[in-house]
């Protein structure tokens, strides 16, 4: 197994991770960044095609190069032995990173909610379709409905439109008045205001409905049409693709495993971005979904603090300013209770194990459901159904256990026996391997 010694180890090379890496390195620390994708930049600065980095990422990369930050791409975190020892796998090879400080910048993922037909091919996430299209997925001439909730809907719709998709409808579940109220807050952030105005102008030809959400997708082997609930009755549209996502949820699995306090699904941090576990910092969407400017501001604070340097007051102020916008965002795109009733009894909730809504409805907790039905035990390890069942049934996440991602047995065996995490002793039993 490869050994890497680091002072500040950063998990994730999205906006928060890149900002944290630059700040920590510029404060004099030896910095390593672990990133699962082929290129840094996260989802928001995802490159077009797989070969060239996004222009913004390139600027960050140049900054990281100057300071000697090492970025480990296509590297997945699979286990941890406390916050100072992180195991990764890259192309079948295991590495052990030892570090004195850890910055979690693991970002967020989309919230998918089950409704009849949501498992059909052609029904994707909103960010999901965006990511696919950026990697060469054919969209030109396709009839697309974009549905769900949040600012991502407009951004993705605009990007699909530019690539020649025929946008039939943007369906935002939030009421128009809530979004208008949010728009009134935009003066606080001129950059966001300009972005929003630009989007609205470019999408002026695309039908948009508020208080509108998908009820059912139909098709045999691929989505053919979608039925939506609107304020003035239901509407059915024939389409080739339905992009549907109900906002973003923080990716907290590793934070939870390490014993960091989590509140309302997000990692709790103090003014220096430090979590309840000393030496573990959080930056970006993992601490609450707030957009790219907040992620960069938090990353700079976290990286500096993790390097043991004093954080400039204006950096803290910049972060706090961005933070103020988050609560407005949450309020505007709050999910309506009707979305809890979209699934029919036979609708699949856990896609990996094909567990239907009716099999889960009586369970008391995620753990009880898991034991009875295997809900959340498949390949995605509850990354898709976990947030959904949290919204549907109010279940809290079950304990996180390594491996965090499916990993070849040979690679796992290389770790051998790890010490139980003091924060999470139950993890020991399933993870210990004799070899």
């Amino acid at each position: 197994m490869r050994e890497v010694a680091s002072e500040v180890l950063i998990l994730g090379a999205g906006p928060a991770g890149l900002a944290a890496a630059a700040a920590a390195a510029e404060a004099g620390a030896r910095v390593d960044v672990i990133e699962g994708n082929r290129s840094p930049g996260g989802q928001i600065w995802r490159p077009e095609g797989a070969t060239e980095a996004h222009p913004t990422t390139r600027r960050w990369q140049q900054r990281l190069l100057r300071t000697g930050v090492r970025v480990h791409l296509e590297t997945t975190v699979v286990a941890a032995d406390g916050p100072r020892c992180i195991y990764t796998v890259c192309g079948g090879e295991m590495s052990r990173f030892r570090t004195s400080r850890l910055v979690l910048a693991t970002g967020s993922r989309e919230l998918f909610l089950p409704f009849p037909g949501w498992t059909l091919p052609g029904v994707t996430g909103v960010g999901g379709l965006q990511a696919l299209v950026k990697s060469g997925w054919p969209i030109e001439g396709k009839r697309v409905v974009v549905a769900g909730s949040g600012p991502l809907l407009l951004a993705v719709a605009d990007s699909l439109r530019r690539r020649g998709a025929k946008l039939l409808l943007i369906a935002e579940q939030a009421p128009r008045r809530a979004v208008v109220r949010l728009a009134r807050q935009l003066w606080r952030s001129p950059r966001k205001a300009i972005q929003a105005l630009g989007l609205m102008a470019r999408l002026v030809q695309v039908p948009m409905r508020y208080a509108c959400w998908p009820l059912r997708a139909t098709g045999d082997e691929c989505v053919r049409s979608v039925l939506l609930q609107g304020s003035d009755g239901s509407i059915e549209l024939e389409c080739d693709a339905l992009a549907c996502g109900f906002g973003l949820v923080p990716e907290i699995a590793i934070a939870a495993y390490l014993g960091c306090d989590v509140e309302c699904g997000a990692m709790s941090v103090d003014a220096q971005q430090q979590s309840s576990v000393p030496g573990v910092y959080g930056a970006g969407e993992i601490t609450g979904v707030g957009g790219v400017e907040l992620a960069v501001a938090e990353g700079a604070v976290a990286g500096t603090a993790a390097a043991g340097a004093r954080v400039p007051v204006r950096w803290l102020a910049r972060r706090d300013r961005q933070q103020a916008f988050v609560s407005h965002l949450d309020r505007a795109f709050a999910l309506r209770p009707e979305l809890r009733r979209l699934a029919a009894p036979e609708t699949i909730v856990c896609r990996c194990e094909d567990v239907a809504f009716e099999a889960l409805a009586g369970a008391e907790s995620a753990r009880a459901a898991k034991l009875a039905t295997r809900c959340g035990m498949g390949s995605c390890q509850g990354r898709v159904c976990g947030p959904a069942t949290r919204f549907l049934f109010g279940w809290h996440h079950d304990r996180v256990r390594p491996p965090f991602f499916p990993v070849p047995m040979a690679a796992l065996a290389a770790i051998g026996t790890v010490q139980p995490s003091s924060a999470n002793p139950a993890c020991y039993q399933t993870f210990t391997m004799d070899c």
């Binding site: 989802q43 091919p121 994707t124 990511a131 696919l132 990697s135 691929c222 094909d354």
Partner: protein, 83 residues
């Protein structure tokens, strides 16, 4: 504009721009169903970022590879039907 390479999707040759994902190549081959769920339902990519595992296929004989994360390379053998 971009260089074209050749891959095979279930044995059929397909020319695609270099650098696109395997998932994109499969879609360009006109295939919608990437895999069958444990209950036999048709499935295709959902998240596009490597977390949902719905786009798993066989690439050059390796099973369970997430096609949204894999990039096409010259001569690559992609098997969807077997996935």
């Amino acid at each position: 504009m971009s260089r074209q390479i050749e891959v095979r999707v279930d044995g059929r040759a397909l020319r695609v721009p270099a650098g696109i994902s395997v998932a994109a190549a499969i879609a360009r081959a006109g295939v919608a169903v990437f895999q069958r769920s444990v209950g036999g339902e048709p499935r295709g990519p959902l998240c596009g970022m490597g977390i949902c595992f719905e786009c798993r296929v066989v690439i050059d004989g390796r099973r369970d590879v997430r096609s949204c994360m894999a990039v096409c390379s010259e001569g690559m053998e992609i098997e969807v039907a077997r996935a």
